[in-house]
């Protein structure tokens, strides 16, 4: 909706009687390059409902800004806030609201703006407000797709004052002549300044009549900062008028105004309101952001902040979330991070990280969620290019029509980037190995901003390191995977009553070790029961049942469900849901080559201690062990199980986990929340660690990438002279 670098924006106002004709005009305006379509409400001819028409136009256009105009400040702000936010979501951030205030309704206006903005702010609690609009504990939300601008229209001095103090824009008209309009604009700027605002925060929108030429309007732009001109159109508007006005505006208005304007008179980008800027965190050069990043960045006062501040398991209050849309923008984001070495810096793909700190307090987050394309490169070799922001459910869904799948994790909402740089212990693991074992190439932006591609033959050291410790070396912008042919699979959910967890674990270990590679089980134990989720990579019901049978006999079954389904159905079991994690997760990870009676007994004591509320074993072995331990930076190829436990209190968990620790052969960093350097030695054997640290010192000497199992902290320690 914004066009950086352009001085003048154009809109049309639909004054038609026939809603179908209005829609056609909106579509034509979009095709010709107009920025906004305004649909005025409250028309006295009762021709149609404006909001309904606007929603319809939203569904039938792709780019043009959608402005509900002449809104009545007496209408319910709570319902309007929800409707506008929902439409903004459906229309990918194209909605704006413009009120038309009169003496009668002016007093309700400021109240209305306050309630609207609080309803959009999902980082705060329920909304109550007493005044012209009475609200008593309404649930805020949804978060709109962008900060919906609220403009105010009307020439009365009280209205101009409200607009100057609170609104994102003011709408005036030329109906009373140029002189009066100029006077209102001067007043607007005065009120904005008096309210402590930068007058450039306000868009200045002027609605024109059906006639007139842009040549007369230059002074409004140059002297009064008018940003947008709106042409009224209806059934009588001459054909070609939209096109000719756009052309005249460009030659007679845009170009002369650009030449005449002094540097800085027009803000290069939309300015945030003063009350939004007041919520910024110290030490961040918000106004120095590159243009491209600024357009999609989220900071604490933005309505989108509530949806991005926290991750799946972790609460956060980052000072700035950058959301690059391209590799070039990732490079710029890395540049921003380099200029803020004093701040916490997290990298987010799907926001499910436990070891990876993809949110923080007062720092930077680079969220690559927008880079989420999935593309088949080579049908014959089953080579697929996947960007880091894609979720595994999207990957599974995209591969399903080809009869393919790529083993990932156990949850479809996890992002590709974090998992594919760590390991990937998934439901096809015993047959097809780790996710990283399928990686053929990776593209990264390194700490110095350079873009590189690593494969087995190009930058082979980096290619090795990315497969297990990638978060330390750069921001991955694309992965190329060789995926597998995977027909429908057997999917089982078995629930057991378990009286003796230790004995159950030993038996589970024995049965899993003896199971064919097609079967990969995942066990959750606790509360006197056990739940096994297992995948059998076969679409033959007899094979599926035969391979599940030994698991079904482990203990008395209380519930069982077995289906033959596509791998994608398992990844799509849980729908997309927003992340509202609170606090810090406490998670411990360990790998074992066998479930010995000692491992089982220590696990049972951990469970009965009450220190953990989540205890999970994932089956490994099989194809995971086919690779040499030095093939990738994930070296624990002898592991047969990954154990993960989560609790509320780190000290309590560590006390109980301590018994298990000496029995472990290593750890899988993605399930470990303890950032202490001691954990590095468990995740990486000494030779692996040494090789990683040498590469870290070479590629990221200033330790920029440190949010996930930081190799640099240790490197810095070991480099320090004695």
């Amino acid at each position: 909706m914004t066009h950086p670098g352009r001085v003048v924006r154009l809109g049309i106002q639909l004054d038609h009687r026939d809603p179908g004709a209005a829609l056609a005009a909106a579509q034509r305006a979009e095709a010709v390059g107009y920025d906004y379509v305004l649909v005025p409400d409250g028309r006295d001819d009762a021709a149609y409902d404006a909001w309904t028409l606007l929603s319809w136009v939203a569904a039938r256009t792709e780019r043009i800004g959608l402005v509900a105009a002449s809104l009545d400040p007496l209408r319910s702000p709570t319902v309007l806030a929800r409707s506008a936010a929902g439409l903004d979501l459906l229309a990918s951030g194209r909605v704006a609201l413009a009120f038309g205030a009169t003496t009668e309704t002016g007093a309700a206006l400021a109240d209305h703006l306050t309630v609207l903005r609080r309803m959009w702010d999902t980082s705060a609690g329920p909304v109550s407000h007493a005044g012209h609009h009475r609200v008593t504990g309404a649930e805020p939300g949804p978060t709109p797709a962008h900060a919906i601008p609220v403009w105010v229209g009307g020439g009365e001095s009280a209205t101009v004052e409200t607009a100057g103090g609170l609104a994102d824009g003011w709408v005036g008209s030329l109906d009373a002549g140029l002189e009066q309009l100029a006077e209102r604009l001067r007043l607007l700027a005065l009120h904005a300044t008096a309210a402590g605002r930068d007058p450039r925060e306000l868009q200045r929108v002027v609605v024109l009549g059906a006639t007139g030429t842009p040549a007369d309007l230059g002074p409004l732009v140059v002297e009064h900062g008018v940003t947008t001109f709106v042409l009224r159109v209806d059934e009588t508007t001459a054909s070609g008028r939209l096109e000719s006005f756009a052309e005249e505006s460009h030659s007679q208005l845009e170009e002369p105004a650009r030449a005449a304007l002094a540097e800085g008179v027009i803000a290069a980008r939309p300015l945030r309101r003063a009350d939004v800027r007041a919520r910024r965190r110290p030490g961040i050069d918000y106004d120095g952001l590159p243009e491209s990043l600024a357009a999609h960045a989220v900071e604490p006062g933005d309505p989108g902040y509530g949806a991005v501040r926290s991750t799946y398991l972790r609460g956060g209050r980052p000072g700035l979330v950058l959301r690059p849309r391209s590799v070039a923008e990732v490079v710029e984001a890395v540049g921003v991070a380099r200029r803020h070495p004093h701040l916490p810096f997290g990298i987010r793909s799907g926001g499910h990280g436990i070891s990876g700190r993809s949110t923080n307090d007062g720092g930077l987050v680079v969220d690559v969620g927008a880079l989420d394309r999935i593309e088949v490169l080579d049908e014959a070799r089953r080579l697929v290019r996947i960007e880091p922001g894609a979720r595994w459910r999207q990957v599974a869904t995209a591969l399903q029509p080809h009869g393919w799948a790529l083993t990932s994790g156990d949850y479809g909402g996890v992002g590709v980037g974090g998992l594919a740089t760590a390991g990937g212990i998934g439901f096809l693991g015993r047959l097809h190995g780790l996710t990283i074992d399928h990686l053929r190439a990776v593209e990264l932006v390194l700490a110095d901003g350079s873009q590189v591609r690593a494969t087995a033959s190009e930058l082979p050291d980096l290619f090795w390191a990315v497969r297990g410790a990638g978060a330390n070396f750069g921001i991955a912008t694309a992965f190329e995977f060789a995926v597998d042919e995977v027909p429908d699979i057997g999917w089982a959910q078995l629930a057991f009553r378990v009286d003796d967890p230790a004995a159950f674990l030993v038996e589970f270990g024995r049965v899993t070790a003896a199971a064919p590679r097609e079967t990969t089980p995942n066990l959750i134990l606790g509360g006197g029961g056990a739940q096994i989720m297992a995948m059998v990579a076969s679409d033959d019901p007899d094979v599926v049942i035969a391979q599940l049978q030994p698991f079904a006999g482990l203990a008395p079954l209380v519930q069982q469900q077995v289906v033959i389904a596509p791998y994608a159905a398992v990844m799509n079991m849980f729908p997309e849901a927003p992340h509202h994690g609170v606090g810090e997760p406490v998670s411990r990870s360990g790998l074992v080559t066998r479930i010995t009676p000692e491992v089982a007994a220590a696990s049972a004591r951990l469970l009965s201690s009450g220190a953990v509320h989540w205890f999970q074993l994932r089956g490994m072995g099989g194809a995971i062990g086919d690779l040499a331990r030095d093939a990738t930076a994930f070296a624990h190829r002898d592991a047969a199980f990954s154990i993960a436990a989560m609790g509320a209190n780190a000290q309590r968990v560590d006390r109980e986990w301590g018994e298990l620790r000496p029995l472990l052969s290593g750890s899988y960093l993605s399930f470990e929340s303890d950032p202490s350097p001691d954990r590095l030695a468990e995740a990486f054997p000494p030779d692996t660690l040494a090789r990683l640290q040498a590469l870290k010192a070479e590629l990221d000497p200033d330790n920029l990438f440190r949010d996930n199992f930081n190799l640099g902290a240790l490197a810095a320690t070991s480099r320090r002279p004695a």
Partner: protein, 298 residues
Amino acid sequence: MTDYGQDLLFGTFVTPDNQAVHHAVEQAVVADRAGLDLVTFQDHPYVAKFHDTWTLIAYAAARTERVHLTANVTNLPLRQPALLARSVATADLLSGGRIELGLGAGAFWDGIEAMGGRRLGPGESITALEEAVAIIRGTWDTDTRGALTVEGTYYAVRGAKRGPAPAHPPGIWIGAYKPRILRTTGRIADGWLPSLQYLPGGVADLATLNEHLDEGAEAAGRSPRDVRRFLNIAGQFGTTSRGFLQGPPDQWVEELTDTTLTYGTSGYILASDDTATTELFAAEVAPAVRDEVRRARA
């Protein structure tokens, strides 16, 4: 045995979830392509995770071609009747006559009041509903000359401009369970839109509820056939039978046919957010029930 002899309609009840932003629109497209008659969305403006239902309906109508759409049912206390009439008429004009109006007197009054709405008692809300219907029908009625005036206790319009007239007469279908509102529905509505899950005795409860509707219709000099009987249903397709609408499509066909022939239900709206379920309902249940009912009636 009461069969009102109406042709049958089949549709879906889709969750207007706004977290998977386009899910509901996509499910409307699925129902449209599958050949169903209706797509409906619940309307709870106090719930932040739902789309505004009438915004969603306009948007989804613009993305579909044949299917009719309605709220199931509109939360009246948070809508102005005249504005609602205009938005229904506008969407109906733009869609070529595909919008209907499911209406409810209001529920979850705490939520309504939190949003700035007015809390009404059960009797008051029924009176308000009747006043609203008069305003809505009056707004749509551009054939009658002169401005619209309805002097109600809860809603009043004085000298309002009529219009726009919708492209087709949208059906006003009311969600109702208690005797008084059922009689009101029989008197003023085009359809009745209850949910099976709120009937403690299951479909058998329809017999008594139908009597109240019929009583209301007849008292107003209407035929009970003027009020179409819908039913919101939930179920699950499976290989073995585990209860009402829990089993293979054949079982569904038998149960719905029986419900139509016994209680006169002529519109089935299935809660489905799932493409496969909607397509199965459209392909294997809807046409078979139509055939069976036609055969039984002949």
